[in-house]
């Protein structure tokens, strides 16, 4: 099912790309990026000055189909937000077997844990089709926290809420899985 969905998404994305004008002005692209980023709780409702300061930290990257965005067990430096396209998250178990755990789409983000702490990447992520990302990274965020503590604290607070929510969701899923296992064992 996943594979079919994935294929459909990739196909629809490819069609969308085909209809896009060949040259997109930088301004238009920046407006699109701003729209997507400000729709995220992490970057929403920021003042003009804060946004300007923050946008200096963003790195725009474009990946081609199948290209690795980051690899499992390499140092994590920051998070990425998908502006266009999709990304595949692959978990690698102790035996080195790769399992697809998620497909992320426009507006999704990943790697946020490494914004807070120096951790090694827990998964490999690669691009599906041509994928445009915006990245924000720990050294720059730390620098921002030192220079503009209020803005840094606001971002850290929002990041903590996101991580807590994801942890809650993971706990909920874990509890569900446990219940399911118990049910199966009872049968």
């Amino acid at each position: 099912m996943n594979e079919q969905d994935d294929k459909m998404k990739t196909e629809s994305y490819t069609t969308e790309v085909d209809w896009q004008p060949v040259v997109i002005s930088k301004e238009k692209r920046d407006i699109d990026i701003k729209e997507i980023l400000t729709s995220l709780s992490l970057f929403s409702k920021l003042s003009q000055r804060d946004w300007r300061e923050l946008s200096d930290l963003f790195h725009q990257r474009i990946y081609s189909d199948g290209e690795i965005i980051f690899e499992y067990d390499t140092p994590g430096l920051g998070m990425y937000i998908i502006i266009e396209g999709s990304a595949r998250v692959l978990n690698i178990d102790l035996g080195g077997v790769k399992t697809e755990v998620a497909i992320l789409n426009k507006g999704d983000f990943f790697g946020e844990m490494s914004l807070v702490e120096e951790v090694y990447r827990s998964a490999t992520v690669n691009a599906i089709g041509k994928t445009q990302l915006v990245g924000i990274f720990r050294p720059q965020l730390k620098d921002l926290m030192h220079r503009r503590p209020k803005l840094g604290l606001l971002l850290m607070e929002r990041l903590a809420i996101i991580i807590i929510n994801r942890l809650r969701e993971a706990n909920r899923r874990l509890a569900e899985s446990r219940d399911r296992i118990r049910e199966l064992e009872a049968k």
Partner: protein, 360 residues
């Protein structure tokens, strides 16, 4: 499907790295004379930028916009320069000129002859045995003087070239301003050109090198300043003449690990011998003071300021300082170790990052 990374065998890797190092060194040595003025100017700008950076960050921390924060730091620096020009520099120049005049009047040959005859009385035939006759000495003194003057001339030429550009175009303050204002944007634009595979590695590398260099440059400057001030104040208290010049010499030589503080004993000792009465008492005091300052530096200042970052082998220090001296005279000797440290941080961190990011 994840593409497998090419694996380079360790032997090839070492050969490639060695070729890369040698080629870089050769290219650097070849183009250095052509761009030495610009390079000195750029290095000076970078060093001053690193010194000013924490000040700008501090102002920004207080809520001051970046441009105003930079302006504030520039004004503070200007105040420091004006105060130095008014109180410190004239004394330094006066003492320097007076010292040069005294040194010029001294007949080193007479000193040498008296020392050799003193030895000859106690060890007859000693001077002839080691080939240190009067003619030989004249020859040596001549050679030594010409080498030293050529050496100093080379540095002065280099410094004068850079100073010329400095005075004429005021490029350095402008460079510093732009480094402080747009340095991070410049780095960001540069990193945008890096291929995806090396992107995170390059970003991490740039920030690590930036942090290490900043810490190293600031700590070595603070350390030299502390050592210089301590030498000046303690020699002044003891009534040793030219204390400010001697403080400057000790502070500057302190930037050369291991050998710098040892070398400092000779010029300072010579000046104390010439100017202090009785000379031997002055010499003993000077040795006590310099040793006490060195102990303070090694036990308290260095571990606190620089930590373990001065991990350079004494043989490397010697070699690097000699190469620095060859390239840019006395000035080169002083900037050789910081320059070596900069290159070492970049090379070592690049290698570690390439390994950590599984590129090699």
């Amino acid at each position: 499907m994840i593409p497998a990374h090419p694996v380079i065998s360790p032997v090839y890797r070492r050969i490639l790295l060695s070729i890369f190092f040698i080629a870089s060194l050769v290219i650097f040595l070849l183009i250095f004379p052509l761009i030495s003025d610009l390079l000195v100017m750029l290095i000076v700008s970078i060093i001053i930028t690193y010194v000013m950076k924490p000040g700008v960050a501090h102002f920004e921390h207080l809520g001051v916009p970046r441009v105003w924060a930079i302006a504030g730091v520039f004004v503070l620096t200007a105040v420091v320069i004006v105060v130095s020009l008014r109180f410190f520099i004239p004394v330094l120049i006066d003492q320097g000129f007076l010292l040069v005049a005294i040194l010029k009047d001294i007949d080193f040959n007479a000193y040498y002859t008296s020392v050799v005859s003193w030895v000859d009385i106690r060890l007859p035939g000693f001077s002839d045995w080691v080939g240190m006759g009067q003619d030989q000495m004249q020859d040596w003194v001549g050679k030594f003087t010409s080498t030293v003057s050529a050496f100093l001339q080379q540095s002065t030429k280099l410094l004068a070239g850079a100073m010329n550009v400095l005075m004429l175009s005021a490029v350095v303050p402008m460079l510093i301003f732009f480094f402080l204002k747009d340095g991070s944007l410049f780095v960001k634009n540069l990193i945008e050109k890096v291929p995806n595979r090396f992107f995170e590695m390059s970003l991490s590398l740039v920030y690590r090198v930036d942090q290490q260099l900043g810490n190293y440059i600031r700590s070595i400057l603070v350390e030299s300043l502390v050592i210089g001030l301590m030498t000046w104040v303690s020699l002044e208290i003891l009534g040793i003449k030219f204390a400010i010049v001697l403080g400057l010499i000790n502070g500057l030589l302190n930037t050369i690990p291991f050998f710098g503080p040892l070398i400092a004993y000779f010029p300072i000792g010579l000046i104390v011998l010439i100017t202090y009465d009785p000379p031997l008492v002055g010499l003993v005091w000077m040795i006590i003071i310099l040793s006490a300052i060195q102990i303070f530096d090694n036990i308290l200042a260095k571990p606190f300021l620089i930590g373990r970052s001065v991990d350079v082998h004494p043989a490397t220090v010697l070699l690097v300082v000699l190469v620095g001296g060859r390239l840019a005279g006395a000035l080169g000797m002083f900037i050789a170790i910081p320059a070596y440290k900069i290159i070492q941080v970049i090379v070592v961190d690049s290698y570690n990052h390439l390994k950590e990011y599984k590129i090699i």
